[in-house]
Amino acid sequence: MARIIAGVSSSHVPAIGAAIDNHRTGEPYWQRVFEGFERSKEWMRNAKPDVCFVVYNDHASAFSVEMIPTFALGTAAEFPIADEGWGPRPVPVVKGHPRLASHIAQSVILDEFDLTLCNKMEVDHGLTVPLNLMFGSPKEWPCPIIPLAVNVVQFPPPTSNRCFNLGKALKKAIESYPEDLRVVVFGTGGMSHQISGQRAGLINSKFDHAFLDNLTKNPKKLTRLSHLELMREAGAEGVEMVMWLIMRGALDEKVDEVYRFYTVPASNTAVGHIILENRIKGAKKSAAKPAAKSKKPASKMKRAAALQKIHRVRS
């Protein structure tokens, strides 16, 4: 059966993409941001997911004001890179996983989440920047990606609670897929930022840290965040953080936070990033057993030990 091994959240600031595309990652301003993701890339290399499910938002690229789907699931085999006004980003085309995607669509819709399904959809920086941060800049993305675009552009986006529950339905869907696939779920966007109006430039680090703390330990508390509170405290565009709750809802109740990074600013935004792992079922048992059995538990333990080396970082 397929299973979700971990959840990753990350900001998707377009300027991060521009810094990568224009080879400016070595500049001191950007170094501070990219260094924070070095360990994440290492984690990803070890995690080797078979599929990534990426919750993100479109920025007037695939969807204009003509149609505004609240949840749009990408069921295509390929998702071309959108031209956001400067030509498409020079990143590999995103390959989907249509069979898993249609399984998820069925399961989630029958679970009463009325998704919009997209057999054709371009993806923008909202999706590709987090992929760069976690995978670097490979010639091909190392695994298929299933995009879920969430409307956070036109008010109201789905509520925090709705997003969390959609995550739960997503977990159920993925875990009922018969093929043995290891899946990582991404929640992207945020953290606090406002890029519009006279209040542009708003950052609320205290809120961001509290959000990260609760995301790991007490996500239920975050499901009570109203849009008004999110916009007031974390900026009009900070409301994107509801997408992180889809990721969190898809994970087990108890998770291990294996990495965290936070820095201000990247362009106009507070950059936040977290990696949460589901606990390996039966891992305790195998660890407790005398080291006599097969190779499997030993390699699991090796992995666990390697991950412990990944320290928590805060700035």
């Binding site: 204009s64 109201p156 209040r199 430039g201 007031r232 405290e233 362009s267």
Partner: protein, 161 residues
């Protein structure tokens, strides 16, 4: 000017310096945003730059929207139904980095705005509420900062924000 219609009061209008892009604004700004959307294509950007007024004729904009576009009044565009992700495409067509737009919207210079961000951004304190109703609201997930007796006493209220 058309007579002012009775407006539904929206609690998020109390957030200062913020134009929440809701369905009303989306409808009002539909053509403005679709104009911006058209700038995603290189040949349209070229045509717009060659003759802005003529290019805008294809879109049934209100005179106010048209003026705001031609004068690059970015807050006014938001007020008239524009959305920042759309108007940013106009800024990009002009060759401006996003922080230029942010500086225009916040009434500062690009350097001053960039410096503000480097110092950690605009503080939320003092920027929560127009009416003062939510001025001290804080967030339900952030523990109150100062354990002064006064703060403790009002903790319950604060949490309900």
């Amino acid at each position: 000017m058309a007579p002012a219609k009775q407006k539904i009061e929206k609690e998020y209008d109390d957030i200062p310096g913020t134009y929440v892009f809701d369905a009303d604004r989306s409808r009002e700004g539909y053509h403005l945003n679709m104009f911006c959307m058209s700038l995603m294509q290189a040949e349209n950007r070229k045509a717009f730059k060659a003759d802005e007024a003529k290019y805008l004729d294809q879109f049934p904009l209100t005179p106010d929207q048209r003026e705001a576009i031609l004068k690059r009044q970015y807050n006014r565009m938001l007020e008239l139904g524009g959305n920042i992700y759309f108007t940013a495409k106009l800024g990009a067509t002009d060759g401006h980095p996003f922080q230029h737009l942010a500086a225009v919207m916040t009434g500062s210079t690009q350097q001053d705005y960039a410096d503000l961000m480097l110092r950690g951004g605009r503080a939320v304190d003092g920027n929560r509420s127009r009416s003062g109703k939510y001025a001290k609201a804080g967030s339900s997930i952030v523990k109150a900062d100062k354990p002064k007796s006064k703060a403790k006493a009002s903790k319950g209220k604060k949490r309900r924000g």
